[in-house]
């Protein structure tokens, strides 16, 4: 979502049902949607857009596994190799005692790993300026946007027609 200078034609809908039917129409008309913006997650939209399932859970699993191995490994190394110390008659490798920390490390790594990955792949970070098309999108408007930087006027008109046919409340052109 790096904003380079481009021209975007977007339409605003008042309801998510209208949005969903519009997306269906656009997909069947093989229109190349740039992006869809909504004020809340709309169920059923993702398959319509043909979005692949997010693989964040795989990332989460990997990070969690790293966390578990790291935590357990460091504790094992410290207690058996680096500086073994007698604590209350326990054996050096006191596995039952390692479990709580191992679990916490799993969760910690999983959560942080996933979250940082999420923000990174979404291009979000503190202070990143949002390339918002319209301030009302986060309020109550649903938006379909097309990249018309390289489109001819005819194509633009076609898109405008699509918008009016699908029930868009507003259609605007914006340079970003």
């Amino acid at each position: 979502m790096v904003s380079e200078s481009k021209k975007v034609l977007y339409g605003l809908y008042n309801d998510e049902e209208d949005l969903k039917s519009a997306v269906k129409q656009a997909r069947s008309a093989h229109l190349d949607i740039l992006d869809v913006y909504t004020p809340f997650p709309v169920h059923g939209l993702d398959p319509l857009l043909g979005l692949q399932e997010s693989r964040l859970h795989i990332i989460g699993f990997i990070f969690g596994a790293i966390g578990a191995l790291f935590g357990f490994g460091v504790m094992t190394w410290v207690f058996t190799s680096d500086w073994p110390i007698l604590f209350g008659g326990k054996p050096y490798w006191s596995v039952p005692a390692f479990i709580p920390i191992t679990f916490e490390m799993t969760v910690l790594f999983c959560a942080w790993g996933m979250t940082i990955t999420f923000y990174t792949i979404c291009g979000m970070w503190p202070g990143v300026k949002a390339p918002t098309l319209d301030n009302r999108i986060t309020d109550d408007k649903f938006c379909i946007a097309f990249d018309v930087s390289a489109s001819s006027d005819g194509q633009v008109d076609q898109l405008k027609g699509f918008f009016s046919k699908s029930g868009a409340d507003e259609v605007n052109l914006k340079s970003m």
Partner: protein, 474 residues
């Protein structure tokens, strides 16, 4: 997408709201000037916070000897308060995470505030393990980092160290979960703001646009965070309970503590959420979002967990008798009949007896009863931790060491000061962020709004577009 709809469904958003109305109602408290009530509340809370800072500086300067703890009862108010605050914090995560996994839509009315409450409660809780240290300026010893002292590591066998990992994990994961959920709502606030406020919210909303792909990842992240937060909540309070369960003191050394503590944490957490929500909905005029149905649902959780806690108390007494082990038997006899018997009865009455009132639907749906009982529950839960810690230590194995504990003004100031800290943070929160999860409320409007379901339903749920509603003059 049509969803399976239960025949009996509560209205969760009253007042026939539109999406825009929702935005208006929930964002405007952050845009207006602080009300007089807020100023008064903030001043009082800040005064207590000042008292807290004074008492902490006094403690660190002079020593833990300024408290009432002694050679037998080495922990008393400090760790009681620690567990009390952590327990309170767990409700937020429970509401966000576990209720998400159980697809309970009513969580959306309260989850944002509850998660904020978690963060602030954990911050208050964290004060105690830090400042109860005799040499707090060496607190960094507790971090396992390579150093030039050997390297000298920490003791991974120690439940206190597990606490360090658990609490810090819990705090940071809760923060992540809360903040990630908050980002779209901050974007909503941003898009209505101008000038300096706009710059602030731009920074804090990380450039959120509302893109469908982002929403998809956001939901996936939320679901997984919920999925790991659930065992995290259970593990954190379990680990806190291990501070006692893994010791050998009779009355502490018992395997019932993990589930007992977790149930108790949920119990007290929900009670604190109720206290906060009852006030918040009234002051910020959010009764239509935090409805009586929300209040009632939370009261049901309270009566359930209160009963579990009651069962746990009775189990403890039974097992002590059944064990035939004199030290265990005496530990519980002493709790009921010994020097601190009044704390035990306070605990029993407040935790087991009083929440039973919530079996009555009328009381469940009464704001005044809810407010009153939620405070009673939290008092009872404080007594529970006090009974576990101070009563047990006062009468342990060797009678020659038996002692008595009385708090000093320093400890009382610290405790009441953390309440001040909590409310300062909460009050600031209500001014800078939406107290209710805007995007999530909008997402359940069509299945839980008053105009769609319930006795006054004007429209069918789920399928009609809002635009048409607006045309019908709403």
């Amino acid at each position: 997408m049509s969803q399976a709809v239960a025949p009996v469904r509560h209205v969760l958003i009253e007042g026939d709201k539109s999406y825009h109305r929702i935005t208006e109602d929930l964002v405007s408290p952050t845009e207006k000037a602080p009300t007089r009530e807020w100023m008064i509340a903030f001043t009082i809370a800040a005064a207590f916070l000042g008292l807290y800072v004074f008492a902490i500086v006094w403690t660190v300067w002079k020593g833990i000897g300024e408290w009432g703890a002694n050679r037998t009862i080495n922990w008393a108010w400090d760790i009681t308060n620690f567990v009390w605050w952590i327990g309170i914090g767990h409700a937020g995560t429970l509401i966000s995470a576990i209720l998400l996994l159980f697809r309970q839509r009513w969580r959306t009315g309260v989850n944002r505030a509850a998660e904020a409450m978690t963060i602030f409660a954990v911050m208050c809780a964290g004060q105690f393990p830090i400042f109860h240290m005799g040499r707090v300026w060496l607190a960094f010893f507790i971090a396992p980092f390579p150093n030039t002292r050997g390297p000298l590591w920490v003791n991974f066998n120690s439940p206190l160290l597990w606490d360090v990992f658990a609490i810090s994990t819990y705090f940071s994961v809760s923060l992540l979960f809360w903040y990630t959920g908050l980002v779209p709502d901050l974007a909503t606030v941003r898009d209505r703001a101008t000038g300096f406020r706009r710059k602030m919210y731009e920074t804090f909303s990380f450039g959120w646009t509302g893109s469908a792909k982002h929403w998809q990842r956001w939901e996936s992240l939320s679901l997984i965070l919920a999925g790991i937060s659930t065992p995290l909540v259970l593990s954190v309070h379990t680990i806190v309970s291990f501070d006692f369960a893994t010791s050998i003191i009779p009355g502490w050394h018992t395997t019932i503590f993990p589930p007992y503590f977790v149930a108790g944490a949920v119990f007290s957490g929900f009670a604190m959420v109720q206290t906060l929500m009852v006030i918040t909905r009234k002051v910020l005029k959010l009764e239509e979002y935090i409805t009586l149905n929300h209040i009632e649902s939370m009261n049901k959780v309270i009566v359930l967990t209160g009963t579990i806690v009651g069962v746990a108390y009775l189990t403890e007494l039974f097992i002590a008798w059944y064990s035939g082990y004199i030290y265990e038997q005496f530990a519980f006899y002493n709790r009921v009949f010994g020097i601190y018997w009044w704390a035990y009865f306070g605990m029993m009455f407040c935790n087991v007896v009083s929440p039973q009132l919530f079996w009555s639907r009328k009381i469940r749906r009464s704001i005044w009863w809810t407010f009153f009982l939620s405070i009673v529950v939290n008092i009872g839960m404080w007594f529970e931790r006090f009974v576990i810690i101070a009563t047990t230590l006062a009468r342990d194995y060797l009678p020659s060491s038996w002692s008595y504990y009385r708090p000093t003004w320093v400890e009382i100031s610290i405790f009441s000061g953390t309440i001040g800290l909590f409310f300062v943070l909460y009050l600031i929160f209500t001014r800078v962020a939406p107290v209710v999860a805007i995007a999530e409320i909008k997402s359940i409007l069509k299945v839980a709004g008053s105009q769609y379901i319930g006795p006054n339903a004007k429209h069918q749920h789920g399928t009609e577009s809002v635009k048409k509603q607006d045309e019908s003059g709403h």
